[in-house]
Amino acid sequence: MITQFLYGGSGILLFLLGTWSFIVHPPLIRKLIAINVMGAGVFHTLVALAYRGLTAPADPVPHALVLTGIVVAVSATALALAFGQRLDRDHGSSADDD
């Protein structure tokens, strides 16, 4: 049980950390990483929710969710990186200088 809480709690912590980092750090790459950290936090929490004790099989639903979520997060990251690259190629800097 404690493990579950630890796991879930650290997930939430990760989420908050990611949020903080996303907001305060301007460079694109750091924001991307922050987003992924947030995602990892959510997924951690979900995975922790799936735990039903050692005997019972884990709840499959959160697992499915996490898998889908990871796919989505990866594609989003890819798209963001592509954008960053475009900006970089145009201007030689990926900084968000709007």
Binding site: G18, A80, D98
Partner: protein, 480 residues
Amino acid sequence: MMIDLLALAVAFPLLGAVVVTATPSHARGLGLASAVLTTLTSLVLSLGVWRDGSVRSDFGGWGAPLGIGLQADGLSVAMLVMSNLVALAVSVYAGSYFSATARRHFWPLWLLLWSALNGLFLATDLFNLYVTLELLGLSAAALGALSGTRAAVAANLRYLLVGLLGSMTYLMGVALLYSRYGMLDIGLLAEVIEPGLVAWTAMALMFSGLFLKAALFPMHFWLPPAHANAPAPVSAALSALVVKAAFYLVLRLWLDLFDPVLNASVANVLGLLGAGAVIWGSWRALRAERLKLLAAYSTVAQMGYLFIAFPLLVATPPGLARDNLLAAVVLLAMTHGFAKAGFFLAAGLVQKTAGHDRINELGGAAQALPAATFAIGLAGVALIGLPPSGTFLAKWIMIEQAMIQGLWWWVVVIMLGTLLAAAYIFRVLGHAFNREPTPYRFVNDARTEIPALLLAFISAFVLGLIAQPLWTLLDQGVLG
């Protein structure tokens, strides 16, 4: 039969996207074909719901209580019809708008977005909603950057990041709810949910994530550059549909899920933000230098009106008045969808002809394109909320409710926004009256001008005068 339709409404565009990606040389024809098919499917589906009530279908063996299913009720169908008609018009318009190379990228992304949109309106469980939301955001950002200019890419990168932040927050909220109740289907959750820290936190997380996506003031900062720099048909879809999807979700959760949890204070927070959006967005639109920027800020303002409805909804006791109010909100969202899409499409034509969209120098282009200018005018009527547009009817009902409830400050905000809207719309239209040579004919390029004109016409004349079916439709699901 109905089951198939629900799936088909999502599957057709998805399938189309795949096919179009595979055969880029026939992108336009195939894309248009799937657009027509999708729209037809949605219309038939809507007709069914209008006549026989809401339908639901479950997929992949995950029936209730886990629930991965699709459901069409009045509210979702209303949004579905609006979205699909707008999307169809945008498709026709885009068919001749884009160059051959841009077409290759446009159609797959566009159909993907459409599929996500239909999925979002029809999904019944929180996680599917997350997936469609995310998919919507991704495809929208990619489409927005299609023009490839630096400004567009930068703006859409920001949009993408904001969208990600929003969906992550939303997902966290979903996770919290699942942790407490172990289910995801909205209908089932609504039966068990009760006020408490978990529900509250989940609600705060989910709503604030959606606010980001709905560009609610002051989280609208990403919207004007992203919408203003996208290609015209994309701007139309973004402004008319994508932000509307986020609002739809807020409304849906508000009505169907969090009803036992929420209270007047939350509604007031929403209303306050909405009021800020109305005033600030209108004001910024008034001072905008470029036509599309003006339209984008106008979207910010119009989203504000939708959120002002929440405090009114909470204050109104259930009954005919509340039903009217709810219908008014939906009508407002629909009208804005048509109007803003028409506006953007027409603005795109003007921009193409003039080579720029600086409002103060638009005279000649406006004069040369009577149909486009007319579309802007008609859409403007709906944006301002002048009769006989749907906006007028909706505002009338909202103001009346506000008066009855004694919440006159919302009336002040709405009227102020209306006047500001009149000012910024007529600031544009004023340039159409100049001493340039008279255009030869009214319509110059039917394939782009007619969709714009039709959308604007529907927003200004059809929705307000023939609003009765909406009430019938909403009786199938949302209205008490």
